[in-house]
């Protein structure tokens, strides 16, 4: 019993000493907004020092001496929600890096409106370890968390259009603006399926924006381009996912409309591609198409299809949407035994201005990004710049209204017009869609690099 | 040769062997009898290292076996024809016998012993290529004993060789045990059929609910009134 008391006594005294320290440490940290130690760690968190800044005192609170000594800096919180585990990790990291870079470059340590607001970004994960992919309940939790946080002003995300379907209605109810760098499903903003898009906006007011063009446009351009290349027959393969299947559907419809014979349609999941790309390639090649269109993304093992098609003796055109226009696609397809790039000569489009037409800021973005995150400039994840651009939209809106008010910020964001973004002049229409319809065509050259090429439309 | 000193063995929390001691001398056939459920198989499993005694020690020619894993114990010369025979059903008779000699490396010796086994059990030679699982009960028992002999054991443990066999086969098996005895093989025999067991053994032990109730020369036990009453089915 004696030792027992001793232990307790020790713990008790330790507790009081520590809690006393706690009282002392918090105000000390507020006096120095940006601690050098914290800012020396750039990658993981956007503005780490902000953790030490408490919320502004409210009238009911007993005023604390240390807190009143500094000018009131109000906290504004941004949340981002992307799957940080599993197959989508690469794309999500790219987007998150874009956000971080934008905050770092466009604000002074996160301060905007002459130091009136301090912006922090919290990166949420909408995937779970058990599943290794995005999860509806987790996305719902993330959105609710942001909705409940009075400091939260803008919600960045999501990567998956399905996750957006979960998040938009929740955020819509609290009028919080949400902006995505990657959702391309048409129905999120425009009429597509019955009930879309109204069913996602219970209040009837639009709260969702995106800086990437939706799928409906790209598929049409792809089909037209094939026609322009003189193709008379095409085989369409999709990866069964929302994005890939959606764009392939649009492309197939347009191809039929402009008189390209569709030799067939095959849906192959990324996982099945790993097991059976060879037999898919035999089937596709067996119909002797002049071109193969792959609606899907690199991570769904599109490169495997290309490799197997070439192995099966297919010599025609291979084309895909922006999910294919990644350097990853070229590296993953590899080289043939005699050292040529397998991906040489494949076509892809991307819904943004051409690299050559990128504004100076866009080119600077690529070099800065490369320097900061250690990724070669020509290998930067495709969505990174959209991440940066969406952060630009939000920051511009906040700087304009200088109010900690979701409705005002939303209004300013929706009114984005001719913003000089890293993806060119950016204007959002009443649906929250980017008006940019510039599509750039790319082809892989002999050095294994995507080079721009004019999109030849059929006469 | 083989000596158990005050061995206590547990199945989980059940106290199965409550301190038994037992000695088998070289060239002897010693039998352990008892009613079913008396825990007759447990000593054999303990000797072989499949069960671990919590207390007590097991010595083979003075060498401690208690802490050794089963394969080391086999290497030191203890082999067993287990209860239920445990034939490798999907292996041929020959392969089963080869498995008996698993711990040995002398090929000529193994071949020699196999010939011996075939001499002892001519039936096995006829069935040499047949799968173990397709043999009859008696043949399986022969195979099991042959397999144990293939280890060229210093002590052979025989568990219930008569179980489930027709009387004529039982007699055959016990004839073979006698033959082995005459060849000088040391055997510890566990048997339900006490009369038969005591008839081939030099000495016997009686196990009752995990404890040694009696021990002595087989002939004496055969005439012991309590043994007679309890195990030999003679009520007078």
């Amino acid at each position: 019993m004696k030792t027992n008391l001793k232990v307790m006594g020790f713990a008790l005294s330790a507790a009081f000493v520590l809690s006393a320290c706690g009282g002392a440490a918090a105000p000390a940290a507020t006096a120095v907004p940006a601690k050098p130690a914290a800012t020396a760690v750039p990658a993981a968190t956007a503005v780490p020092a902000a953790t030490a800044v408490p919320a502004a005192p409210k009238p009911t609170d007993v005023p604390k001496p240390a807190a009143t000594a500094v000018p009131a800096v109000e906290a504004i919180k941004f949340y981002s929600s992307h799957p940080l585990q599993g197959a989508s990790k690469g794309s999500s990291d790219g987007i998150n890096n874009g956000y971080k870079l934008a905050i770092e470059q466009l604000t002074k340590d996160g301060l905007v409106c002459d130091g009136k607001f301090k912006i922090t970004l919290e990166l949420l994960d909408d995937s779970t370890a058990a599943k290794g992919a995005w999860d509806a309940a987790t996305e719902q939790g993330n959105a609710t968390k942001a909705a409940a946080d009075k400091d939260a002003m803008v919600y960045f995300g999501t990567l998956n259009s399905g996750a957006a379907k979960v998040a938009i209605p929740i955020l819509n109810q609290v009028g919080m603006p949400m902006i995505s760098a990657a959702n391309t499903a048409v129905g999120l903003t425009k009429a597509n399926e019955p009930g879309e898009p109204e069913k996602y906006y219970p209040t009837g007011k639009r709260t969702y924006m995106r800086v990437v063009p939706a799928d409906d446009f790209q598929g049409v351009v792809n089909a037209n381009w094939l026609k322009g290349l003189g193709v008379k027959s095409v085989y369409v393969v999709d990866d069964t996912e929302l994005y890939g299947k959606g764009v392939a559907d649009v492309m197939e419809k347009q191809a039929k409309a402009i008189g390209i014979e569709v030799k067939g349609r095959q849906s192959v999941t990324g996982k099945d591609m790993q097991g059976q790309a060879n037999s898919i390639a035999v089937k596709v090649n067996g119909t002797k198409p002049e071109a193969v269109y792959y609606g899907g993304i690199t991570a769904a093992n599109g490169p495997l299809l290309l490799v197997e098609l070439r192995k099966a003796g297919f010599k025609g055109i291979f084309m895909g949407p922006d999910g294919v226009q990644e350097n990853e696609f070229i590296t993953a397809a590899g080289k043939t035994a005699d050292g040529k790039f397998v991906a040489e000569g494949i076509y892809a489009t991307i819904g943004s201005v051409a690299l050559a037409d990128l504004p100076a800021s866009g080119k600077k973005f690529l070099t800065d990004y490369s320097a900061k995150f250690g990724i070669a400039a020509d290998k930067i994840e495709v969505y990174s710049k959209y991440g940066y651009a969406s952060m630009q939209v939000a920051l511009a809106a906040i700087s304009k209204v200088c109010k900690k008010d979701r409705a005002a910020i939303l209004e300013a964001m929706m009114a984005t017009k001719d913003l000089d973004s890293v993806v060119g002049k950016l204007t959002l229409d009443k649906n929250g869609d980017t008006t940019s319809t510039s599509m750039t065509g790319y082809v892989v050259d002999a050095k294994g690099v995507w080079v721009e090429t004019p999109i030849k439309q059929a006469p | 040769m083989l000596e158990l000193k005050n061995v206590h063995t547990y199945y989980g929390n059940i106290h199965a062997l409550k301190g038994i001691s037992l000695v088998v001398n070289k060239g002897e056939v010693v039998t352990l009898i008892g009613s079913s459920g008396a825990g007759k198989t447990t000593p054999l499993r303990t000797i072989q290292g499949i069960l671990r005694p919590r207390e007590g020690s097991i010595l083979l020619e003075g060498e401690e076996l208690t802490k050794l894993p089963p394969h080391e114990i086999v290497k030191r010369g203890v082999s067993q024809s287990p209860e239920g025979r445990l034939i490798f059903a999907r292996m041929s008779v020959k392969e089963n016998l080869e498995m008996g000699a698993y711990q040995r490396n002398d090929k000529p010796g193994i071949a020699e012993d196999m010939e011996k086994v075939f001499k002892l059990f001519p039936r096995l030679k006829e069935r040499i290529g047949q799968r173990g699982g397709t043999l009859s009960g008696g043949e399986q028992q022969m195979l099991s004993m042959g397999r144990a002999l293939m280890a060229r054991p210093r002590v052979m443990l025989l568990d219930e060789p008569s179980m489930g066999l027709a009387p004529i086969l039982v007699d055959q098996i016990f004839d073979i045990i006698r033959e082995l005895h005459s060849e000088g093989v040391t055997i510890l025999l566990v048997e339900q059929n006490a009369r038969l067991a005591l008839s081939v053994a030099d000495r016997g032990y009686v196990l009752e609910t995990g404890e040694m109730a009696l021990s002595g020369p087989a002939k004496d036990l055969l005439h012991d009134p309590s043994v007679k009453a309890a195990y030999l089915g003679e009520s007078h």
């Binding site: 370890a129 349609r265 095959q266 849906s267 790993q274 035999v282 690199t298 495997l304 993953a332 | 292996m91």
Partner: protein, 381 residues
């Protein structure tokens, strides 16, 4: 339907009619509701008659896939045969094997064309690594759980699977090293790991994609066989025969069979059961390593999740063939490979091929509960 209406004693002819009508009704319903999956006999017949050579071509690709699946399946079946445990981590061991083989081939060839001998040599590190890894996992994760219900070690295996997958995923971040030091030529080959953790990573193609039938039958030959296909099939045959010989004729192989049939008796024979089980894991792992090299050379690609689908098919193959049986694994793999190739050809989505494989699995097990070549485990309860 009619059958239940008919009284059991009267009108036997009514019953007979029911016996005929019931299957017809079932077939009709299957054809009715099978349409979304592409189950349209008319179309299928016409397609098959229209282009029979493509079916032969699909047979070849099915065979090549089956070769890889067989080798992975043997790993499952051996482990299952000896400890009756589904080793969920096996597929991830295979996945890491592909990574090791990839790094070995590219690392040693230094960025230039990988020679064939180096690719063949890659079997050694991949098999050693996977075998060793599997043995280590068995020793530290599963061994103490063997006396528990099988499901406990299955969950542990699942946990291992998560860990290994994460390791595979994390390998992708090593690509940041060459990006950070663009001048350091000695680490540039790490770029083979791709730009993103999760993206597919290319294997060097060491064999030309030429039709080996062309020199013999001329350029108009309707079939096409590439050297890589011949390579995987021959390698698989060699590995299966080597393994069969090992198990049938070596001392360790016999001990493995003995432990699989009856661990208690095996222990009494002086077999160190723990060691033999460990050895089984090691051999299963080594085979996964071999399959990994085959996979890399044939498919030309790998990624962190390559284990899942191959593992699933392999395990299914092992069960269809009769688990615990090496010939069964090969037969099951062959069935699955050919069926999925053909159904890829005839149906509209790989999803349906997968569904078909599982439907066949269910049918096989319903009519032959132990798999095609399986037998009841004798004395083993």
């Amino acid at each position: 339907m009619d059958k239940s209406l008919a009284p059991s004693t009267a009108m036997p002819s009514f019953r007979r009619v029911g016996k005929i009508l019931l299957p017809i009704a079932i077939i009709y319903l299957v054809l009715l509701f099978g349409q979304p999956a592409g189950l349209e006999p008319g179309r299928l017949i016409r397609e098959i008659l229209g282009n029979p050579t493509i079916l032969v071509q699909q047979l070849i690709s099915g065979l090549a896939n089956a070769a890889i699946v067989t080798i992975i399946a043997i790993g499952y079946t051996m482990v299952y045969g000896i400890v009756e445990m589904v080793n969920f981590a096996h597929s991830s061991v295979f996945m890491l094997g592909t990574m090791v083989a990839l790094l070995f081939m590219v690392g040693l060839s230094g960025g230039v064309r990988t020679p064939l001998w180096l690719a063949i040599l890659a079997f050694i590190p991949a098999m050693l690594f996977c075998g060793g890894l599997n043995a280590v996992i068995e020793r530290f994760a599963y061994r103490s759980l063997r006396k528990q219900p099988k499901i406990v070690s299955m969950i542990a295996a699942l946990g291992m699977d998560f860990i290994l997958q994460n390791v595979g995923l994390q390998l992708g971040s090593f690509v940041k090293l060459p990006n950070a030091f663009p001048d350091n030529q000695s680490i540039q080959w790490l770029a083979v790991l791709g730009n993103q953790a999760a993206s597919p990573k290319a294997f060097p193609q060491v064999l030309d994609s030429v039709n080996i039938l062309e020199p013999i039958f001329g350029p108009d030959v309707p079939l096409r066989i590439v050297p890589a296909e011949v390579m995987v099939i021959i390698t698989a045959i060699i590995l299966v025969f080597a393994l069969t010989w090992f198990i049938g004729n070596t001392r360790a192989g016999k001990a493995m069979r003995a432990v699989a049939q009856n661990p208690a008796a095996a222990a009494m024979m002086g077999i160190d059961v723990d060691r033999i089980i460990n050895l089984t894991y090691a051999i299963g792992g080594a085979l996964a390593g071999g399959a990994a090299v085959m996979y890399g050379l044939y498919k030309g690609n790998t990624s962190w999740d390559v284990g899942f689908v191959n593992g699933l098919y392999s395990f299914t193959a092992a069960v269809v063939g009769g688990i615990g049986n090496i010939k069964g694994a090969a037969l099951g793999a062959l069935m699955i490979g050919v069926i999925s190739s053909l159904s890829n050809q005839l149906l509209t989505s790989s999803d349906w091929s997968k569904a078909l494989v599982f439907v066949i699995l269910v049918l096989v097990l319903v009519f032959k509960p132990t798999g095609i070549l399986g037998s009841e485990g004798g004395e083993k309860a």
